[in-house]
């Protein structure tokens, strides 16, 4: 921990920037009594300590861009905004690691890394409004996960504040480390229910010199997913997406497969040639080629689908080769209800997002799809929807469904980290 980040830990007065909550601060329509924007880790610790001591509950937030993820909190007294903790603490370019405070945005971090020819290869939506804390807490990702993995694969170390206001660390600042339990892992995707994240260390990668993408047109979801997996086996792309009609401008087909590469010019050109021959075998038509900035923009558009304006965005996870039939089934069910779905799949990962237009369709789709997915070891998470829809979903397994046989251990883990349930009570799985 740098002195700057620790800041006023020992001071008598803390810069807390405290005020009363308003409707604009609401989390799932619940207005917190107060809002606080601590200036440094010391002030965060003080605020957390006080909250626990008074038996109150808090939700931590960065810039609030992803707060729609999660169930409505069962109790909310304080919204703890961490966007003032925005320092990049240590970037060791030659070691390819970076330590950054939780309130720093991905876009700000990317500017610093880009200057050294590097990047953190995670591409969730809205990088300019997504903080490091939010990235970790909501386990955000984008198309690059096909080749670069997700937060869990790049996070080396983490610091968080315990309910008693203690600063706790796990992991480290080197790229390989097995000293002690890998506790950073359990904070990833935990929606801040185990601690207030204040600092993270990541491994970073060299920024690839070229990016290119091909867009192929397909007639239906099933053949699109099959083609995508064939393309994966042929060329091992850096990213691989399947998108329904209406997602990508200028693609006039029921489904598009988008295959993207990163690397040296000759690598990228060779891969492009091979996908052309896959397409020429009569499988699909190449409708567009995008280079560098344009390919990056296409990737950003696909990532941004997670924030698509819709009544709800569902995230379904299954085996990669089962995504096609799942999307066919979802489309059929929605059609019966007069609903048109749009969807984007991370085809190599078996993760797809479905945007539902009408609020009245959400519960029915969840009720139909979730049991089918869970029976096959998959899941359906309602990532973003209005508070009113969230309440409708309560009897259908809520936002997350069944977390599986680990649910008892999960509850005990929560109690081990946060026995009084100070942190985001009710926001996560199984009532946690």
């Amino acid at each position: 921990m740098s002195a700057a980040a620790e800041g006023a830990a020992g001071d008598a007065t803390h810069d807390l920037d405290e005020r009363d909550g308003t409707i604009a601060d609401a989390v799932d329509a619940i207005v917190p009594a107060s809002v606080c924007r601590p200036a440094n880790t010391g002030a965060v610790r003080e605020m957390v300590r006080r909250t626990t001591a008074q038996g109150l509950a808090l939700v931590a937030s960065g810039r609030g861009r992803h707060l729609a993820i999660g169930a409505p909190p069962t109790k909310l007294d304080l919204l703890l905004r961490l966007d003032r903790l925005d320092e990049i603490l240590e970037h060791h370019a030659a070691d390819m690691t970076v330590s950054v405070a939780a309130g720093c945005t991905l876009a700000a971090l990317d500017r610093v890394l880009a200057a050294a020819g590097q990047w953190l290869p995670l591409d969730p939506p809205a990088p300019d409004a997504t903080t490091i804390g939010g990235l970790i807490a909501a386990n955000l990702s984008g198309p690059l996960r096909a080749s670069q993995g997700t937060v869990r694969d790049l996070l080396l170390g983490l610091r968080w504040v315990s309910p008693q206001g203690e600063l706790v660390s796990a992991g480290g600042r080197v790229v390989k480390n097995v000293a002690g339990y890998d506790l950073p892992k359990v904070h990833v995707g935990a929606l801040g229910t185990l601690g207030v994240l204040v600092e993270a260390t990541f491994k970073v990668r060299p920024r690839p010199p070229c990016e290119r993408a091909l867009v192929l047109a397909c007639d239906d979801a099933q053949s699109a997913v099959e083609l995508a997996l064939d393309a994966r086996d042929a060329v091992e792309p850096a990213w691989l997406e399947v998108a329904s009609a209406g997602v990508l401008a200028g693609v006039d087909a029921p489904f598009a497969v988008v295959v993207g590469w990163l690397g040296l010019e000759e690598e990228v050109a060779d891969a492009e040639r091979r996908v052309h021959s896959l397409a020429e075998a009569g499988r699909a038509v190449v409708v567009a080629t995008r280079d560098d900035a344009d390919a990056g923009a296409l990737r950003e558009r696909l990532a941004a689908f997670a924030l698509e304006p819709a009544a709800a965005v569902l995230r379904v996870a299954t085996l990669p080769d089962a995504v096609g039939s799942l999307l066919v089934e979802a489309t059929r069910l929605a059609g019966e209800a007069g609903e048109t779905l749009r969807c984007v799949a991370h085809a190599a990962n078996g993760v797809a997002r479905i945007a539902v237009r009408e609020p009245r369709s959400v519960a029915a789709l969840v009720a139909a799809l979730r049991p089918r997915l869970e029976a096959a070891g998959g899941s359906l998470v309602v990532e973003r929807t209005a508070a009113s829809v969230k309440h409708e979903l309560a009897s259908l397994g809520g936002m997350f469904g069944d977390p599986g046989p680990g649910r008892t251990l999960m509850r005990r883990l929560k109690d081990a980290f946060d026995p009084q349930h100070t942190f985001a009570p009710g926001r996560f799985v199984a009532g946690i």
Binding site: R152, S169, V178, E267, A271, F417
Partner: protein, 490 residues
């Protein structure tokens, strides 16, 4: 072995094994799956970390995940602590029984239960040897990426427990990056499935903390693993340097050029001599150090990268950069590297391998610190590193019959790990804390950090019966691990 390192008594401080329990275990697994004769138990008195030893009272070798659960349930019924063990190739004493009379070995759980080529998944039982998986899937163009040097012997259960690495983790990541789910037998005997073939299930990433928990959460009996596409092509070469410093600078140069090789390994003069004598791989005996560099990926572009790496090596003073001409030469170079530890056996009766990590730009400093430590303690220390990761493996040579030398070995090991921490690194990159590095945990973690970890342990193992007295420096263990070492040295 009359002057062998200290033998820990394993009978104190735990409930004694009753005849009834032993009979029940025998009835469950069969008489040929129970080891209880003292001479047969000697095999189990240590793993790859040999400085401390102590045999369990009883070893159980179940044949199936269901039998493991049955064994653990029986142990739970009488509150008996136990030690899980795979192939026993661990290097930090993680399987040393301390106040745990029963050892449960998963080495007979050898089934690869399912292979899903399209989705690149495999379900393997805990006793499956690491390399078997790649052998099973290579005809489909796939491989299992984590490749510890002991991969011809070490098992998936042990790999999961230790979060094992290997030379190719620089590009492909360590075990945790390839484990999607585990079946865990909790110390209560309850069996729980965590994660699975599908990515990103809702809830806490419990699989992620079971990996690397060193057997303190229970016994992993099955794992769902991610398979990786085999690279289309390789370029493997040996860069020969006059000094280990120059080789270290070249490592930084390669990384600084924006190139992430699949592997980037270093061997110093002492290791080269041992390895060359054993394998005749044509390694230069007069070099200060060599780098073994491997690039892999699509064939297109690989020669461009190889030329860049070559140029960086030459710029940093490599006197020769030799490219493996074919698969056979590549295989020989890797055999030499992966069996380097074994080859060291030619140089001294005993050796002890350390496993520190430094930020890779600090390699030259840690190398100098190791040399100074060797000189100060009049020891021979060879270096074989995962240089690209900054993961060092100093190998300290000694003769365990020389008790003053044993004392100096322990002292030197401790100093090297402390130097790693001082340079911003860690005391273990892939071998685990086990018993060996317990004393160094407070160098890395505050009391609050350690408390958070022990609380998590209690989530899985409230009674502390799974692999007790490992990883954490509780007051009792401090006494137990330090005292015998002093004794060993006297």
């Amino acid at each position: 072995m009359s002057l062998a390192p200290h033998r820990r008594g394993s009978t104190r401080d735990h409930p004694t094994l009753t005849t009834r329990l032993v009979d029940a275990l025998r009835a469950l697994v069969g008489p040929d799956a129970i080891v209880d004769r003292p001479e047969a138990l000697l095999v189990y008195e240590c793993d790859g970390y040999t400085l401390e030893r102590g045999a369990p009272e009883l070893v159980v070798l179940p044949r199936s995940p269901e039998q493991v659960a049955g064994v653990v349930r029986l142990l739970a019924s009488e509150g008996i602590p136990f030690v899980p063990r795979g192939a026993g190739t661990g290097l930090s004493g993680g399987t040393l029984p301390i106040a745990a009379p029963v050892m449960v070995c998963t080495s007979r759980l050898q089934a690869i239960e399912s292979i899903d080529v399209r989705n690149r998944r495999v379900v393997a039982q805990a006793g499956v040897v690491n390399l078997w998986i790649t052998r099973q899937v290579q005809s489909a163009g796939l491989l299992y990426a984590p490749d510890p040097s002991s991969q011809t012997a070490c098992t998936i259960g042990g790999n999961v427990a230790e979060n094992s690495g290997g030379p190719h983790t620089l590009k492909y990541g360590v075990t945790t990056n390839h484990v999607l789910g585990v079946e865990l037998v909790l110390p209560s005997g309850e069996v729980v499935q965590l994660g699975g073939a599908v990515e990103e299930g809702p809830g806490y990433d419990l699989t992620g903390i079971v990996v690397g928990s060193e057997g303190t959460f229970g016994i992993v009996t099955r794992a769902t693993l991610r398979l990786t596409r085999a690279p289309e092509a390789y370029r493997t070469f040996l860069a020969v340097f006059e000094s280990i410093d120059a080789a270290s600078e070249a490592v930084s140069g390669i990384i600084g050029a924006g190139i992430v090789p699949a592997a980037l390994e270093m061997m110093d003069a002492l290791i080269l001599q041992a390895v060359e004598a054993a394998f005749h791989a044509g390694l230069p005996l007069d070099a200060g150090a060599v780098l073994l560099v491997e690039l892999d990926g699509p064939a297109a572009g690989l020669d461009t990268l190889a030329e860049r790496v070559r140029a960086v090596c030459l710029r940093h003073g490599a006197r020769e950069v030799r490219v493996a001409a074919d698969d056979a030469e590549r295989a020989l170079l890797w055999k030499a590297r992966k069996r380097a530890f074994g080859a060291v056996g030619r140089l001294a009766p005993n050796y002890c391998t350390q496993d520190g990590v430094v930020p890779r730009t600090r390699l030259p400093e840690i190398v100098r610190a190791i040399a100074a430590t060797a000189q100060r303690h009049q020891l021979r220390i060879g270096n074989v590193f995962h240089a690209g990761d900054g993961n060092i493996h100093p190998i300290i040579l000694f003769d365990e019959r020389d008790q003053d030398e044993v004392r100096r070995v322990l002292e030197a090991g401790r100093e090297i790990l402390e130097a790693c921490v001082a340079l911003g690194g860690s005391v273990t990159g892939e071998h685990g804390i086990g018993v060996e590095k317990i004393a160094q945990m407070p160098l890395l973690f505050s009391p609050e950090d350690l408390l958070a970890m022990t609380r998590v342990r209690a989530v899985f193992d409230p009674d502390g019966r799974a692999n007790p007295h490992k990883i954490f420096p509780d007051a009792k263990v401090c006494v137990e691990t330090r005292a015998p070492r002093r004794q060993a040295a006297m």
